[in-house]
């Protein structure tokens, strides 16, 4: 067993888990990685390209190798870092990216063929024969590529979104972050402390250093007790701040239940949008390695990680370990492991003349030049002054110095700057103005420096917010420099990995240099460096150093990569938020929804609305049968349809008429009180925008309607006109769409039906003619509005009552109108009725058409300035020859299909001869065949002629006759009677 003594695991509980089907045990406080190490498992994964056997390399979120598929079934989560998976009882994980078992991956053949797979090889071959790419080469590559797999079952867990606001956000709960949070929280400011780990402390948990001569955990425990008593401090464990956005907004994911066995009582994860006046980035640093031949053997890891496993998780990857270092930090690992009883085979230190800090062998001025042990490290080759020997050991810790985690300070494309003393990039001055950086993330890596810089950063941030705070008593802590040497990689012939996951070696970088792919972005893209799931956290700076050596430039001259969100991978399900499926978008219901549902209506999505599409009756076998009945019943008796979804805007004020005059292409100011007028709005570019009706209820009061689809945009446009264009006009706007249930009552019996519900109002044609409107009461005192308007061509009205009475009014009208043939109709019949009448709707008002095309060119007044009037007269719009026509099949049995293109009967059918297209089509029970509306070049002149409707997409070509778009009552007598 490689389980050591001590550590921050709870030995009082044993947790069972499986990896690749084999059972193991661990303890609370373990990660999957630490528990596997404690169970003598070093091999945890396979690399991306060569399928090389890999072990865990780090102890944190920067892990490139130990990626697993966590959980099973629909909860299977690919590419999960074993280093971040908190152990729970019953955890099940499987290794990934292998064909066969983890020990015997058939795709490891790629490794043997690796000379052929050098950087950029894909671009140079697989081109012949042409058709083989999609059929052979690419499928082969795709199968071999990828990492973990998705179950392709819907994610069964719940996710949440939320919003937090604070004065100060502290990112990272290590020494610097804790000191910052303490300082700020004591001042009374609203503070959030977020850390990706499940335990506060950061590196303090991994070190054996004392604070105030006591274990660091004592200090942390005292702090946590104080934190719990501060209501202005929100401590968020298991929370990764993954992105820095504009103006102090941060994205964070809290893993609420990932450490629990599913299914969860609450949500799995929550996406928090944090708005913070100031932030302190205290995200620590990531250790880097030193490439040498075969440096990817399982058992080789970062020395700091080895120390984490030993000190925090009480686990060692082997009983006998070695250290390869270019600084003093490597020696700490040797000391800590030795103290835990692990045998130290030696510390190989690139610096000449260094001495051991304890009882272990040191190879000074030496380097590791090769490693053996395909499935687990067995031996290391140590080279000094050209002399090599082999050293037996089961694990190696590499200490190549530390890279500050500057990512979140660089998400605004700020460039980190090179610090030659620290031999690392530190945050530059061009980061987000509301963020400061503290601790190891700022290059202040000693515990003392981290504590101090965290507290000082908090003081500075609070002072910018006008708050005073005092520096807390910080514990005494180590403050030793690590005395690093600039030693970046071990020269040699073998393959030395720089980016482990994507299998980018020093040789690949050399090849990129040789092929002139030298700018850092070319290097990345040519070799795939830094593009793996770890985003090159352990690779990029080392690669820059190698490229710098090749070009003879300095590292900062060679460049740095751009850091982009997210800091670590974020599940799409949590980014996609809490409500999905049916709740992806809210649903609007009409006032008569419940009534329609009770009638057995079929509903259809119309934007956010659900509308009754048709009302099937017993015995009806097809939707067409139902719709035909509804249409005919309307034209013969009276039909009722909920049209509440049309936008309604209340326009009031002394200048309301003038305002509408400027908004609509046609005149509105001249409309008489008590009358309604159809209105056409243009966009300022002269194209048709929206249509509707304007009803003038009083001198200073209009109610205008918009189409259902454009209700929102038109209201915005009206406010724009009111506030930005003509603020001098006295006009007030408010939407009343939802306030009124509006029902269309259409058909020859419409008047007779309404007479039965109005409270003594004279509906005669003379008293209430076509296009009249009024306010009245119905059903014994219910206030209502009545508009005599028609989209069906029939005698028709729209009646509006307060929305809560819509359901009852509909039921009442159907009941009292039974003998008049009162029939509810849905959107399908509504569509048929309007096509039969030749009324334009969404398919005609699609934003690409003009008033002229709609046959309304004359409506655009030349006597006044209105939005779009000037641009509607441009050459291209005036020259447009296509105009709205009606279309009927020559052979009535033939279909008319919307989306068909129109051609002269003898023309070759191609783009150049295209005369137009069918916008809307339906079966017309009134006409007895299919009918359509369409835009046709010189359409008016072609009335009576034949034309071809081509729908090659569905193999159709139908002869149509061009007719007037008004299939019903073209003279308009019915609606005026």
């Amino acid at each position: 067993m490689t389980r050591l003594s001590g550590g921050l695991i709870d030995r009082s509980q044993t947790l069972r888990f499986t990896f690749d089907g084999k059972s193991y045990t661990g303890h609370p406080g373990d990660t999957l990685a630490s528990a596997l190490l404690a169970n003598d498992v070093r091999l945890m994964g396979r690399s991306f390209k060569y399928h090389r056997p890999r072990g865990v390399f780090t102890a944190g979120s920067e892990e490139p190798n130990a990626l697993v598929e966590l959980r099973t079934g629909a909860r299977q989560e690919p590419n999960t870092r074993a280093t971040m998976a908190e152990l729970f009882d019953g955890l099940s994980a499987n290794s990934q990216n292998r064909v066969g078992s983890l020990n015997f991956d058939l795709l490891a053949v790629n490794d043997l063929a690796s000379p052929f797979f050098a950087a950029g090889f894909y671009y140079k071959t697989f081109m012949w024969p042409r058709a083989f790419w999609e059929k052979l080469y690419e499928p082969m590559i795709r199968r071999a590529a990828g990492l973990g797999s998705l179950s392709m079952q819907a994610d069964p867990d719940a996710y949440d979104k939320g919003f937090l606001h604070c004065d100060l956000l502290v990112i990272g709960g290590g020494a610097a972050g804790l000191a910052a949070a303490l300082t700020a929280a004591r001042s009374g400011a609203q503070v959030i402390l977020a850390d990706e780990d499940f335990r506060l402390g950061g590196r303090l948990l991994s070190e054996s250093h004392s604070l105030n001569d006591a274990p660091a955990t004592d200090w942390i425990a005292a702090l946590e007790a104080e934190f719990a008593s501060l209501p202005n401090l929100r401590v968020m464990r298991r929370t990764t701040v993954f992105g820095t956005f504009d103006h102090g907004i941060y994205g964070a994911v809290e893993r609420v239940s990932d450490h629990l066995a599913a299914p969860f009582a609450a949500v799995r994860q929550t996406l928090w949008r944090i708005t913070a006046k100031r932030a302190i980035l205290a995200a620590g640093a990531t250790e880097r390695h030193i490439p040498f031949a075969n440096n990817d053997r399982p058992g080789i890891m970062l020395a700091g990680a080895m120390r984490s496993y030993a000190n925090r998780f009480a686990a060692s990857p082997a009983d006998r370990v070695a250290i390869f270092t270019n600084n003093d930090d490597g020696h700490r690992t040797a000391l800590d492991l030795a103290a835990k009883g692990v045998e130290i085979a030696g510390v190989i230190d690139s610096r000449a003349g260094v001495r051991a800090l304890g009882q272990y062998p040191v190879f000074a001025g030496a380097m590791v030049s090769d490693a053996k042990g395909r499935l687990g490290l067995t031996r290391l080759q140590v080279t000094r002054d050209g002399q090599s020997h082999w050293l037996d050991c089961g694990a190696l810790g590499i200490a190549g110095g530390w890279n500050p985690n500057v990512h979140l300070a660089s998400h605004h494309r700020g460039r980190p700057v090179w610090d030659e003393t620290l031999l690392s990039f530190v945050p530059g001055q061009d980061g987000p103005p509301v963020m400061s950086v503290a601790g190891a993330a700022a290059g202040k890596g000693s515990t003392h420096a981290a504590l101090t810089s965290g507290a000082e950063a908090a003081l500075a941030a609070l002072s910018e917010l006008g708050r005073t705070a005092t520096l807390p008593d910080l514990p005494r802590a180590e403050d030793a420099p690590i005395n690093q040497q600039a030693f970046w990689h071990v020269p040699g012939k073998g393959r030395a990995w720089v980016d482990f996951q994507n299998d980018v070696t020093v040789k690949d970088i050399k090849l990129a240099h040789q092929e002139n792919m030298r700018p850092v972005e070319h290097l990345k893209r040519w070799t795939t460096l830094g593009m793996a799931t770890d985003q090159g956290k352990t690779a990029n700076v080392t690669a820059l150093a190698v490229m710098a050596e090749l070009t003879g430039k300095s590292i900062p001259e060679t460049g740095t990569t751009i850091f982009r969100p997210p800091y670590t991978g974020v599940a799409l399900s949590v980014l996609g938020g809490g409500d999905t499926g049916k709740h992806f978008r809210p649903t609007r219901l009409t006032p008569t929804h419940d009534w329609a549902k009770a009638q057995g209506a079929v509903f259809v999505e119309v934007g956010q609305w659900m509308r009754a599409q048709y009302f099937p009756r017993a015995g009806e076998t097809t939707w067409r049968e139902t719709v035909d009945r509804e249409v005919l019943a309307t034209r013969a008796g009276v039909g009722l349809c909920d049209v509440t979804t049309l936008g309604k805007v209340d326009v009031q004020g002394a200048d309301a008429g003038e305002f509408l005059n400027r908004l609509y292409a046609n005149a509105m100011a001249s409309l008489k009180v008590g009358m309604v007028r159809y209105g056409l709005m243009l966009r300022e570019d002269g194209h048709a925008y929206d249509d509707g009706t304007c009803a003038r209820l009083a001198e200073d009061h209009y109610v205008v309607t918009t189409t259902t689809a454009q209700a929102g945009p038109v209201y915005r446009h009206m406010e724009y006109a009111r506030q930005c264009l003509w603020p001098e006009l006295d006009v007030q706007l408010i939407s009343t769409t939802d306030a009124w249930a509006q029902i269309s009552v259409a058909g020859p019996n419409a008047r007779a039906l309404l007479e039965r519900i109005v409270d003594g109002f004279d509906l005669s044609n003379t008293a209430f003619p076509f296009m009249a409107c009024t306010e009245l009461t119905v059903c014994k005192g219910l206030r209502a509005r009545l508009f005599r308007i028609s989209f069906s061509g029939e005698l028709a009205y729209e009646i509006a009552v307060p929305a809560r009475y819509g359901n009852a009014l509909m039921a009442q009208m159907i009941e009292v109108g039974a003998d008049l043939g009162a029939t509810p109709y849905g959107t399908e019949a509504l569509g048929v009725l309007r096509i039969e009448k030749g009324h334009a709707a969404g398919n005609e008002l699609n934003g690409q058409t003009t008033a002229q095309m709609l046959g309304m060119g004359k409506m655009v007044s030349t006597k006044k300035d209105a939005i779009g009037a000037v641009m509607s007269r441009r050459e291209g719009l005036s020259a447009e020859r296509r105009i709205l026509v009606g279309l009927m099949p020559v052979d009535a049995s033939q279909p008319v299909v919307a989306g068909s293109h129109l051609f002269a009967p003898d023309a070759e059918q191609k783009t150049e001869t295209d005369l137009g297209w069918i916008t809307s089509a339906c079966f017309s029970p009134h006409v007895g065949s299919g009918i359509g509306l369409g835009f046709l070049a010189d359409g008016t002149a072609r009335i009576g002629q034949e034309i071809i409707a081509a729908n090659p997409l569905q193999g159709q070509s139908v002869r149509l006759r061009v007719v007037s778009p008004h299939f019903v009552d073209p003279e308009g007598g019915r609606l005026r009677d």
Binding site: Y720, Q723, P727
Partner: protein, 96 residues
Amino acid sequence: MLIPHPLLGLRDAQEFTYLGDAALLNRPDGMAEGAAEAFNDYVYLRDNPAGVHRELWFHEQGDRSWLIVTRNTVTHEILGAELARDVALAAKGGAQ
């Protein structure tokens, strides 16, 4: 982003709908001489600066005010915000 609403303070930009260059306030007179050219310039041509830009935002999920926000298009820094109505009225000689 956060928009400093002149009446409501900092509000998340998600509450707003963006229109474009605040020059859209200066709508030409459609009845005037040369209206065609003036409208082409007004409707289609933009300065599109890499730097400080005055632009129209509508507080759609808020108080429905149109704002003129002054913002740097390179850094996204916001330098100020005014009610578009106030600006438009001032431009028209403070009518009302």
